[in-house]
């Protein structure tokens, strides 16, 4: 019994540690004064200021635009690639997967500077395009990694069964394979979107004149010290991510649950 209480207290402390800073941030975004330690009254003025801030608005626009395009492009690219990689065997496959894995394991800073060097070597203008391209480059591996397991789970005879029934390979792909790996594709899409929205380091090295994202704005503001507008911005971003996460979690859990109940009916 004592042990149980100790466990609960311990987990409580861990979660306070994990969530208190975030909570503090959110609470003080509604603080009237600029002070970060004293509560002087409820106010929405930092939010209002936020919406009038030109830099933040433009950063917001770029963040969302890039995240949406990144999610779409890397999902399409990643899905096609995953289907292809799944059909390859042996060393070739290992090589492709290892290179694909590089941006996942490499420190972001190394990925960032290597892309920066690439763009400079090819005389590309830094800006929207370089940032977008970089986001697609580092998101696609995650999409592939979320689809590949689904493809592996697929009954190897599924495509054959479809063709046996008269389906051309393309028809089988559209009507059998894609529906089967859809959960992986959606997870990949959401991952690419979240990664893109969240990214700072790679964007930092591949941004260009007048094109920044929210993370970069936060960074440059934070370096100048704490500002309540960042609190407001953070709170909004946290809420969005929270909602997204709950959505993803509901999806996966819902999936498992519906399967479980289906089985129990039999």
């Amino acid at each position: 019994m004592v042990k149980k209480y100790l466990s609960k207290i311990y987990m409580g402390i861990i979660f306070i540690f994990l969530y208190a800073p975030i909570l503090v941030l959110a609470v003080f975004s509604f603080n009237e004064s600029k002070s970060r330690g004293n509560w002087t009254g409820f106010s929405l003025k930092w939010y209002i200021e936020l919406f009038h801030d030109h830099d933040i608005r433009s950063a917001f626009y770029y963040t969302i635009t890039i995240a949406i395009i990144t999610a779409i492009v890397s999902t399409v690219l990643g899905t096609i690639a995953a289907i292809g990689i799944n059909a390859i065997k042996g060393r070739q496959k290992a090589l492709i997967l290892n290179v694909n894995y590089l941006p996942v394991v490499n420190p972001d800073i190394v990925t960032g500077i290597s892309l920066m060097i690439l763009y400079i070597s090819f005389n590309m203008d830094f800006g929207f395009n370089t940032m977008l391209l970089s986001h697609i480059v580092f998101s696609t591996p995650y999409v592939i990694l979320s689809i590949l397991p689904k493809l592996k789970q697929l009954d190897v005879h599924m495509t054959e069964a479809a063709m046996d029934l008269g389906a051309t390979p393309m028809y089988a792909l559209r009507k059998v394979i894609l529906p089967e790996i859809k959960p992986g594709i959606i997870t990949g899409f959401l991952m690419a979107f979240t990664l893109s929205i969240d990214d700072f380091i790679i964007s930092y090295f591949t941004k260009g004149e007048g094109v920044t994202n929210l993370s970069i704005v936060i960074y440059s503001m934070a370096r100048r010290g704490v500002r309540p507008t960042i609190n407001a911005l953070s709170t909004i971003m946290l809420t969005v991510v929270l909602l997204l996460m709950i959505l993803i979690n509901k999806r996966t859990n819902g999936h498992e649950k519906s399967k479980k109940t289906n089985r129990s009916e039999v």
């Binding site: 009954d155 599924m158 054959e160 069964a161 046996d164 008269g166 028809y171 059998v176 289906n262």
Partner: protein, 346 residues
């Protein structure tokens, strides 16, 4: 020969340099129930996949209804397959699974509905159309897989160990159902299994395969009673296989004794395999049989007893309704037609 629906000529297939099928030639007649039987890795599934179009033979020709189909992809072949683990589409319900092939043919909805409903009825799955695949039992999934193939009215149905995942009782039931269905529909069935009992129960013709080679092809009765070599004898039911020497036509010697048999045409003094079925050996009181042995173990098997009897250093497997206790000395008798002589295997 217009009775032949599938003809394989000198089919050879290698995977990574390893020979899987070695010069297979066989023909399947219309409305026949043919079973490819053999241990795993014998090439039976590969043969089936070559007929289905999922593998291409390295050498040889595949004819379907007199037409060379080596280069025809599976989706253009007029035959359908029931896969080992069914390969039903989990994202489609029962109805849509069965309708899959018909939709590809762009059949109109009314026709599809009629055909699918008829299949559901045939397979006792009448109200299951809306069910999801994972809501079905193994036996039901099995039926759907067969229905999904049969609804396309193929001339030949290929079945790759379709009953392997079912429990024993269900498997027996399905064996009879499948056989009955094949007769009723008049479709050629090519069936792959490693279960000799299943093969004996259902088939018109059994093709016994091992190491990529056809060991014997014939009716179940022929295969059981007249196995052509020791492998077939051993694989089709349990057997006692002894080394012997042909003394003369109709006379063989093994375990130091001479026995009359029904086989002729071997060379004098030729070494042969002697195959004796466990159920063909009869127990007699000690001293009355031609061979004498000591009972090593006895297991009651329901209908009969299974005994190990050591005679002159060979351990005979004996199935008999008579029983002798462990340690007892008994006689063993054999009639000439109990003794099967075959050329010595490798």
């Amino acid at each position: 020969m217009d009775n032949v629906i599938i003809q394989l000529n000198n089919i050879t297939k290698k995977f990574d340099g390893e020979i899987i099928l070695d010069d297979i030639t066989l023909s399947v007649k219309k409305n026949e129930f043919v079973t490819f039987l053999g241990p795993s890795g014998c090439g039976k599934t590969t043969t089936l996949r070559i007929i289905g179009g999922f593998e291409r033979p390295d050498e040889g020709e595949v004819y379907f209804d007199g037409q060379l189909i080596n280069d025809i992809p599976p989706f253009k072949r007029q035959l359908n397959t029931v896969f080992q683990k069914y390969a039903l589409f989990p994202h489609l319900n029962v109805y849509e699974n069965i309708a899959f092939g018909l939709r590809i043919k762009k059949m109109d909805e009314k026709n599809i509905s009629t055909k699918v409903e008829r299949m559901l009825e045939l397979f006792n799955l009448k109200n299951y159309g809306k069910r999801r695949i994972d809501q079905l039992s193994g036996g039901q999934q099995q039926r759907i897989a067969i229905a999904r193939a049969l609804v396309n009215e193929p001339k030949v149905l290929l079945l790759d160990e379709p009953l392997g995942a079912l429990d024993l009782k269900l498997r027996k039931e399905m064996q009879h159902e499948l056989k009955a269905m094949q007769k009723q529909l008049g479709i050629t069935f090519i069936y792959v299994t490693h279960d000799q009992e299943e093969a004996l129960t259902m088939s018109d013709t059994i093709v016994v395969m091992n190491d990529g080679i056809i060991q014997q092809m014939g009716s179940p009765i022929d295969i059981y009673n007249e196995p052509e070599n020791a492998f077939v004898a051993d694989f089709i039911g349990e057997s006692n296989i002894l080394s012997g020497v042909m003394i003369d036509d109709y006379l063989v010697e093994f375990l130091g004794k001479r026995f009359e048999c029904l086989d002729a045409g071997f060379g004098r003094g030729e070494e042969v395999d002697v195959v004796i079925r466990p159920e063909d050996l009869d127990l007699t009181p000690a001293g009355e049989g031609k061979l004498e042995g000591i009972v090593k173990s006895v297991i009651f098997k329901g209908v009969h007893y299974e005994m190990d009897i050591d005679a002159r250093g060979f351990e005979f497997l004996v199935h008999s309704t008579d029983m002798a206790p462990v340690g007892a000395t008994v006689g063993l008798t054999l009639t000439p037609d109990d003794i099967h002589i075959m050329e010595k295997g490798d």
